[in-house]
Amino acid sequence: MKTLKEVKVGETATVVKLHGEGATKRRIMDMGITKGVELHVRKVAPLGDPMELNVRGYELSVRKVDAEMIEVL
């Protein structure tokens, strides 16, 4: 299973499934990370975490711990 955490800077991936549950999962979905959406990894913060994504035309930052819950292709 490949997760968002493993996607390299500058690469684009498609969301397959969201793992986890409750507030965190809902929050991630509310922000537009849903099944089938394209995520473009823009960069990683200077200290290695969090990462910056381009999703649905805007910039979103997600911690790597949470990125691990996002299964991508």
Partner: protein
Amino acid sequence: MELKIALAGNPNCGKTTLFNDLTGSNQYVGNWPGVTVEKKEGKLKGHKDVIIQDLPGIYSLSPYTLEEVVARSYLVSEKPDAILNIIDGTNVERNLYLTTQLVELGLPVVMAVNMMDLVRKNGDKIDVAKLSAALGCEVVEISALKGEGGIAAAEKAMAAAQAKKAGELPHVFTGSVEHAIAHIEESISGKVPNNFLRWYAIKIFERDSKVMETLHLDAELKAHLEEHIADCEAELDDDAESIITNQRYAYINGVVDKAVKKKAAKHSLSTSDKIDRVVTNRVAALPIFAAVMFLVYYIAIGPLGTFLTDWTNDVLGTAWLVDIPRGWLEGVGCAGWLTGLICDGILAGVGAVLGFVPQMLVLFLMLSILEDVGYMARVAFIMDRIFRKFGLSGKSFIPMLISSGCGVPGVMASRTIENERDRRMTIMTTCFVPCGAKMPIIGLFAGALFGGSGLVAVSAYFIGVAAIILSGIILKKTKGFSGDPAPFVMELPQYHTPSAKNVFHATWERGWSFIKRAGTVIVASSMILWFLQGFGFTETGFGAVEDNNSSLLAAIGGAVCGIFAPLGFGNWQSTVATVTGLIAKENVVATFGVLFHIGDGVAEDDVALWGAIAQHYTMLSAYSFMVFNLLCAPCFAAMGAIKREMNSAKWTAAAIGYMCGLAYLVSLMIYQFGGLITGEVSFGLGTVAAVLVLAFFIYMLFRKNKYDDNRLTVSAVHAAKVVTR
């Protein structure tokens, strides 16, 4: 008839700008009942009977964040006459997600597509008619920043409110989901207000715990509804909440494809992205961050800030505010004690605080600019990694930065932290940063005993930061701060040119809350203090005393000062100064001036005061006293802010108790261990106590986090589940 229009939209969509534009200065700022989310309302310009209710900036109407719960319970229970939904025209897709939820409420909705100037500049096209048809509400184009279309949008919302008609509900979901929702609607019909029927049905489908609590459905009905939901879940192979979210976005995708034409290619770099490539660059981000912070501080506390402070203190605060009235009062032959009360008690107290205002305004001005530009979110992005280690979030940096100016707005700035646990932790620790009012204390002791060494101030900041870090590590392992880790899912808004109106508004709002403090708490406490130190019992009975060593204040200080003896400052003057420091930290200096018979208008660089301090303190006891005053309970105004933001007597007491306790223990260690080295104190009970305290701190720092353990096992189980699938 009075109309209520609720202003709803995502954070960063320009809602604040529009709200200021619509209401002007006619605003009322308070809190939503029971929670610490800011509530703003105002009257629409030119329409006395129309109230604009600003809702918190939200992305969704989920039951998980405080802001969202506040917004939706307002919409459902207060039933505003219309909703004015602002969406960011440069980011239609995510903004419409909230819109799909708002229209379900069955209230009249008008959508205002904001930032149209930017949309046009980018060469993009938005087909308003198609948006309107797809979402079943009227759509207007506005540009809040340029002041275009705002009033027209509000008037459209007024018309919609008067018509009392909600739009045609769009069919957002697919067949089987709509089918299940229709079933639920049928079952709960009559149990909820008719126009909220669909909203409740969808919430039940999502198994929204907060809605289920309020509905009190009987078990049989619940089981029946559950069947429908489970069937649908089985068919679509996903959980109900995800189904709803996915389908909303799928619907929006379709709408956006038809209605929005973007000129630029997907994932291409906008100007904002290009700026970000440099500003949050892996190599350059930290140096740029340091440079920005240096610039802010250089301007606020450097030459310009110092000039402003000096001028207000010497000219406005002393010459105009105190000396001129004194001349008048003496001229008209006013009684000596009354002149004293007015000039030395009230006016001098207010003047001391007002002297601080210009510097504060400069600082707030710059922070407001950073906020308005969009840099603050980047600060959180850059700093998150560090702060998370101490149980805080990247957003904690902002309150702490502001606290170095003043703890009151610093504590207030903690509102931007969504997670309650992170917010409480931030409130509890943010006042450890030496604020501007603590600077005179540092300056006084540095000048009197350390030859004016700048190292004293540096070490004060170091101690403040260390107190935050160590507190974070210790507190996050305690029961009160255990729980699920907070998601850090944060939008990085587009950079934009700051709007002068917004910046000045924000600066003034913060500055005003500080000035109000000078007008209320400080005046009252200055009067009480003036009385306590000017009056006392002498051989001739109670009355005004010449020598304040025989004042009431001295008596009170003398009675309790013993508890500070192990810390090296058991004299009553120190106790009294600490107490007056609770009114405002800069009072400590003035109090020493009075108590050592130098005068109450002294500054921290007064040579006579330095001499008096040097007589009463050693370097070590002075340092211990300074550290105690830096870490212990902040001033009354900041404590008030803590109480407001914690919104709980228990947490307020815990926060203030923790600060005082930590201050006492740290000063104890400094004096006892330092004293052993310098030979100032000999080995004794105090040393033993200090060793125990040190051992306790080390244990608290390095003990295993048993709550974290639980969390790990939970995620391990979860990971196992994922693998077996």
